[in-house]
């Protein structure tokens, strides 16, 4: 049962460095051989900011997701969004990021059954404090566990 009181809960800020080797590793894992990723200071791939958890989970109190209390056994990643307010961050740059729970809401599933969604937003600011990127993660909890047959 999700906790609606989680809305507005905010984590403490955490640092995230964009590292060249990590960018290259991520590009390779997502089947990109684009020349950009082999340059000296490549931009991050479109979904690279998912690696923020390497940084966020190392800082006590940074990740507010646990407040949502979605059942992990019936939980899934439903949607994910990344917005860049300019060119994507480049390797060699440092950011300060902060996550907060934006919303918790219910929807009726197409085959019946209530689905509960929760959304966490993470803002990334560069060293001058400018907002350069946002990550928006939507998790869902279904009334029954997903299975192999669940198409």
């Amino acid at each position: 049962m999700a906790n609606r009181g989680a809305v507005g809960k905010e984590g403490v800020p955490f640092e995230m460095w964009i590292e060249r080797g990590k960018v290259r590793e991520f590009a390779r894992a997502t089947r990109s051989a684009h020349a950009e990723y082999f340059s000296e200071a490549p931009v991050v791939p479109p979904t690279f900011l998912t690696t923020m958890f390497f940084w966020e989970d190392g800082v006590d109190g940074a990740n507010p997701w646990h407040h949502v209390k979605l059942d992990q056994k019936r939980g899934m990643h439903a949607e994910q969004e990344y917005v860049f307010h300019g060119p994507p961050p480049r390797a060699g740059t440092k950011h300060v990021a902060r996550s907060r729970i934006e919303s918790v809401f219910d929807k009726e599933g197409r085959r019946g059954g209530k689905m509960t969604f929760a959304v966490m937003v993470t803002e990334f600011r560069d060293e001058s404090g400018t907002l350069v990127a946002e990550a928006r993660m939507t998790g869902v909890e279904t009334e029954k566990p997903p299975s192999s047959e669940d198409k």
Binding site: A29, P42, P45, T47, H77, E79, Y82, F84, P146, K151
Partner: protein, 136 residues
């Protein structure tokens, strides 16, 4: 990619990946930091009621975004949104494609919105995506 050469409805060749393997999932997990055992540990996955480890959703989302950056350039990405539909299993073949939904100018920048889709060999949709790129 030149602005004059882009038209709404344009649909370059898809990126076909697979059959995807457990190794693909593990490589992605190492790169991303999501080490959930359900994506690599056969025993754990079976105990959870699955026939095999399932792909990390962000893996196929990342491959779908790769199709678009190969075309329009990684530095030009401004927005990426994905929604997961069907799960992906070892042995699935992923076809990533999309088209220009809208070509426009906004705040002095030339932009395109893309509708993307990652389908499996059985025709099922694994991931739907939406991206925005600037076109310098």
């Amino acid at each position: 990619m030149r602005w004059e050469d882009i038209r709404e409805g344009a649909e370059p060749a898809p990126l076909v990946v697979g059959p995807v393997t457990r190794t693909d999932f593990v490589r992605y997990q190492g790169a991303s930091g999501d080490m959930n055992p359900i994506h690599h540990d056969e025993t754990f996955a079976r105990a959870a009621g699955y026939d095999a480890p399932l792909a990390v959703g962000m893996f196929q989302a990342g491959v779908l975004a790769t199709w678009a950056t190969n075309w329009l350039g990684p530095a030009n990405v401004r927005k990426t949104k994905v929604r997961w539909k069907e799960q992906v299993w070892p042995g699935d073949v992923l076809t990533c494609s999309g088209k220009i939904a809208r070509k426009y100018e906004e705040n002095g920048e030339r932009k395109v919105d893309l509708d993307l889709v990652c389908t499996k060999q059985n025709g099922g949709v694994a991931v739907q995506g939406w991206m925005t790129f600037v076109v310098p």
